[in-house]
Subunit: 426 residues, 4 copies
């Protein structure tokens, strides 16, 4: 389903009055405070987040799955959904593919479809947590398996993913390893780490020089005693042994309870080692909920670190990849993605409003109360008019979800694709 | 596959020498300390744990599932597997069925098969966390759903489960609710609780007078913001409103990080409110690992509370139900169950060896060091000869896993049922 | 140090222009949306939070303490500090005393000082976690100690606290028990619970009929294996055995990792069992940080439950007690309290703005996305002009911390009381 | 109080019979299994753990402290207590001093006292988490403070500690930093890390060439938002920037909930980066309970990694430092230390009994069940006779606590030093 641009301008003109009023008030206020409003708007407009191909269908849990209807049945339909998201939000212009779920049958057709929709190909994702028809099984691990034949198969698969990505114009490989063990003794912890290091070295060598490797960490699940790459320290250790183009990917849900994630971001940027993000939110574990829905202040604090780290020159903003990675068990995936993009934009905008000079003064002088006030001054602001203005200027809808619902998009998708269509994914 | 009893006696005679030596040494020592060894053995022999019908196939995670081969394809084969377990271990003599996975097609045939195998029917389990063909969907909850029609369907299903159980001679209904919400605001927390209370009341009323309801709690998963019955307090609140025959079921994996589970057991027994256990183990969440494989000392401490609570008359031992509830992702389920039964037996045996009189003296006198010594005195003992002796006296195998492997049971099951057979379950 | 009211009006007139502008814009907008702005303002004005007497000096950790200077040296100076807070914020009009730290030497003098300052006496706090000169030691517990003599002393102390409170006009007794154990075996879990129940029964009986008992729970610290009252379920169990006037006190820091606290609030209100709050915030444990500084969204969600529970008639708003309970290790305590009062007000105001009718519709209809939008619509708003307007109307300062700093209050207190003065507390 | 060696031999001869019986049975069994019993005994005899000087008095919590009586009043008495421990257990032959608490007034007298008692000086500990009279305050940090003057003072203090250690023959400096922040915004996360790195560099340079630096990490407390060195990854990052002699110190209580500590040990050994241990145990946070009292299986698994890492040549056993670091709030510190030494010995002995060849086979072949059996085979054994035999052969007491109590040591210490004597420490 393709959105006609008329629909957006009709929608926007209906909301124009109330928006203009709010935006005028806010922009005047910001200008008085010395904020360069145009520059601010531009930063928000420029900030684009990739959407993974597997996020367009309903997700599930180990207890079951409830389909949403109208899910994309193939890569073409996935691109169409992202195109729709793009038109509504102007906040996403690339897709992250997952192999073997998204192997194009016709590369040039897919490339021209993507180009038509204005969508590029973000980092590629390999899959060695399921058996996809190879002769060896990943039941007990892949890149870190104790059997050389299994590791070889997993390495070959990753290299194949790189090859596919090269044809599409992707520039990165995301490696998430489910490898680990369920019971003490099951795995030799040091050997498994060493085998993983060796396997990653082979894959790294096979990557083109202008690619980067994004190495994810996760403390548990689907293995419940140990994971070979459980934390940023281990991911970092491996990346450093690989080379400059291997960096650490932070998935917000992949941490032990109470972890200070913004500090991990700061520590990675301190070393120019941050590959990028998988945005989602969680209350308990890798819950894969909509980013910002549970801990919005944490998301804001992460953006504070990102902005401060890039402005201070620790690590370049452009070197960081941004992707949503959530599971949509009870929401329409497209609506959920719009909520996620909005929460990311809001958090980013608030973080841009932090008076960093004042904050630094408080930090240097030990004014703990003042530093907290400084952050709250930005966090308590209602920046939605700012985010909306940037979206409208970019050609998006003033209220994407409202428009999506008024156009009955899901209903249309269901009549087009069926109520039982099922997208590949988890 | 049925085990001939000859195999067991052959096996046992091979291990007799080394066992006898160890058992003699231990029993002499215990006798000298004043332990009534016969009574001790009898308690261990009498202690039987139910096995759930869904534990006989490979489990999975939301990321995938790796089959084990030779999994039981129907209820008859599930009973056969439990019969085998029973013969090997003499530690399990009942099965807990899950509806709709285990609806018998021929009740009298199933009952005579069970009776032949010496297996009885433990508590029944209902399933409202998946859509099983009803007109209403449980996507947003069942007994606590905001829609009356959904609640009615879920109540009717539970009552149907009771009816099935009555025909089989079961005496209990286990209710685990996946109900909850993924996002703040999604659910009215108080209304959901009230609807759940109302639904449970209807089910409770439909239960025969000699049945008990076992009401499980769980803090999260598959819902990741809130669960309607998250903790023992809520389960207890609901049970008290239902009546004397509703009690709280403790699943070891259903707790927040760092929870003192043995204290929950003590507090429930204090009120005569403990329905029973689902045994498993976990390092992170509801990992469903083999019980005792991660935190064996915790399992021992739980048994200390169980023994002390029953000996002190807080709650009768006979009123408590025992069941294993783990997921076998990387192990042969039958071997895993044997390991679980062994760890339960070991923990129980060690807890029986605690010198409770001495411990009470330390507690009263504030001898903290002495109290710890008292528990360690029991925990550090090697009680495996004791557990083995009880099993041999009961007719089981000296080393069940060794015998199981030497008989190549799994290989036989695979040739009988196929490498791709898949048992119902998660 | 007493604040002259001129200072406040001078300060307010300086900030008048910018405030008026923001407030006009917001109130117009709210009015257009159908909000009764006067009623809203009134609710915020009426909402008052008690301050504990021990929060006026620097706190510490087990690793040490860094004094702040100018700390109140006696009860009179504590009242003076609270009077100052009251004048600046108009958000607190009562003090919660801690015995034996705050035993008045002259009751009528204290009462008239309090009355002069417009401060009343909130719930009294007993102390059985330290030895305060009694013949028995609380090293191994107080109300739940295995020794009757210790329990008797602790009961007597609590009754004495009630007596002191009666003379001052307090109407409540807060009981926080540090009782528990550090090691498995140290304590008989059921006996300790029973002794605690018996001791509380004696204290409850000694309370006047118009008093309430606020029974706190805490999972760990200062005991690190078990706490006798670890969770709301145990507190609730005890309260129900005592009588209608015993209810459960929620301290925000007293929960295991990942606990859904707003659900506990809802569940307590469902039973009319919520005594009140100790406000603070935490990232790891009972960190006693400024409320709202770490998880502001959680605080908002708690207020959503409080408002919904009282508006639905589950439990009356007036029956709930409100108190700050934080530790000020690195901040000026008075500034910290002002930040806490502001965050509470902001959270309360945002929660009042939730469109509950719309939310309920979403909940009933299963519109998960809509429900989240509903909460975000309120949470993303900048309500600081509203909170400020309420404060100004109440006679407080437009910006309390700014005024406090411009008056150099701490410097004055130091010159008055000395740089080494140390307030009683932790 | 000095223990006469006669007392030990008297005690041992009383317990000889029962011990000999158990030891004969066990050693015969081990020999039959092919274990070199003499080598095993020798390893246990050789394994010595340092005791910190601050562990000899009662510890406390932020809520208070209950003295134990007879606590050592000065360094001489601390050495005497450790001498006593040494004589009883033969498991500790060194002390770890804390400066400024333990600055010797007369170096040569202290050195000859230590030499007389057979005690050497393990790693030195600096203290920058309290103000010890310097002109700058550590309230907001020390080595990572935003103020150069504070950092300089903290660096100078550490260098002074090295100087003191040199005079005593110590060969290591343990650095634990309490530095961090309580609130978001308070600290510039990257700057604080950089300042810490610079300060540590200065200290490292001042260390003699034959010293090592043991750099501790801790996620929280006494700071509750962020800690500058929160995890092994950050500690490792800093150590690598310092040089080969800086390594990561693991304190068992310094981890987030559910952390797999044995994996951290393996990962550190993989890089030859493990400095050593602070032994204690915890259920919730940095509870500082007796090691092995809460999670004995975890302690065993850690020793499995240590043995496997050293036997495989990943890191030399001799390069690792061992120290107890617990807090004794409710136990006699000397008894607690004896319990800790016993649990360490038991865990070490069990880990030595793991059939590593069989385990490796299971790991390589993917025999998950077999691997678990392998570990349980060692863990379930009662190794107390082995530990006891090693202690007796070393000249220690068969049952140290029993002898300690029969000699009424604490009573004697109280009469010698007074009931109110208070040792320096927390």
């Amino acid at each position: 389903m393709k959105l006609s641009l008329d629909k957006i301008s009709d929608h926007n003109s209906k909301l124009k009055l109330s928006h203009q009023d709010e935006w005028d008030f806010l922009s005047n206020k910001l200008s008085k405070e010395g904020v360069d409003v145009d520059e601010l708007i531009q930063k928000i407009k420029d900030f684009q987040i990739a959407v993974p191909s597997w996020a367009l269908g309903a997700g599930g849990t180990r207890f079951g799955r409830f389909g949403i209807g109208g899910e994309p049945r193939n890569l073409e339909e996935k691109l169409a959904d992202i195109g729709l998201l793009k038109d509504l939000t102007r906040k996403t212009d690339s897709v992250s593919l997952h192999i073997p779920w998204d192997i194009p049958s016709d590369y040039s057709a897919i490339k021209s479809l993507a180009s038509e929709l204005g969508i590029s190909f973000d980092a590629m994702n390999s899959n060695t947590f399921q058996d996809n028809g190879g002769s060896e099984t990943y039941k007990l691990g892949s890149l870190g398996n104790s059997k050389k034949a299994v590791r070889d198969q997993a390495v070959a698969h990753n290299i194949e993913v790189v090859e596919i990505g090269k044809k599409l114009g992707s520039k990165g490989l995301t490696v998430w390893l489910a490898d680990g063990s369920n019971f003490p003794g099951q795995s030799s912890l040091r050997s498994a780490l060493q085998w993983t290091q060796e396997s990653l070295t082979e894959i790294y060598k096979a990557m083109p020089d202008d690619w980067k490797m994004l190495l994810e960490y996760k403390p548990y699940e689907p293995n419940f005693y140990h994971t070979i790459i459980p934390d940023w320290g281990t991911s970092s250790l491996l990346c450093k042994s690989l080379g400059d183009r291997a960096k650490v990917l932070v998935d917000l849900g992949h941490h032990l309870p109470n972890t200070n994630i913004e500090q991990i971001v700061a520590t990675l940027m301190y070393q120019d080692m941050l590959a990028g993000f998988h945005f989602n939110d969680s209350k308990y574990g890798d819950d894969d909920l909509t980013t910002g829905s549970i801990k919005p202040y944490q998301l804001f604090l992460i953006f504070c670190e990102l902005i401060s780290g890039s402005e201070d020159g620790a690590q370049a903003w452009e070197s960081i990849s941004w992707m949503i990675d959530a599971s949509h068990n009870t929401k329409d995936p497209l609506e959920d993605l719009m909520q996620a993009l909005e929460m990311i934009s809001i958090s980013f905008a608030k973080a841009l409003l932090v008076d960093r000079r004042k904050l630094t003064t408080c930090q240097i002088e030990g004014d703990v109360v003042g530093a907290q006030e400084c952050l709250q001054e930005a966090f308590q602001r209602d920046v939605r008019p700012l985010v909306r203005e940037a979206r409208i200027q970019n050609g998006g809808a003033a209220d994407p979800i409202m428009l999506y619902r008024s156009l009955a998009v899901r209903k249309n998708l269901i009549s087009e694709r069926g109520a039982e269509s099922r997208s590949t994914g988890l």
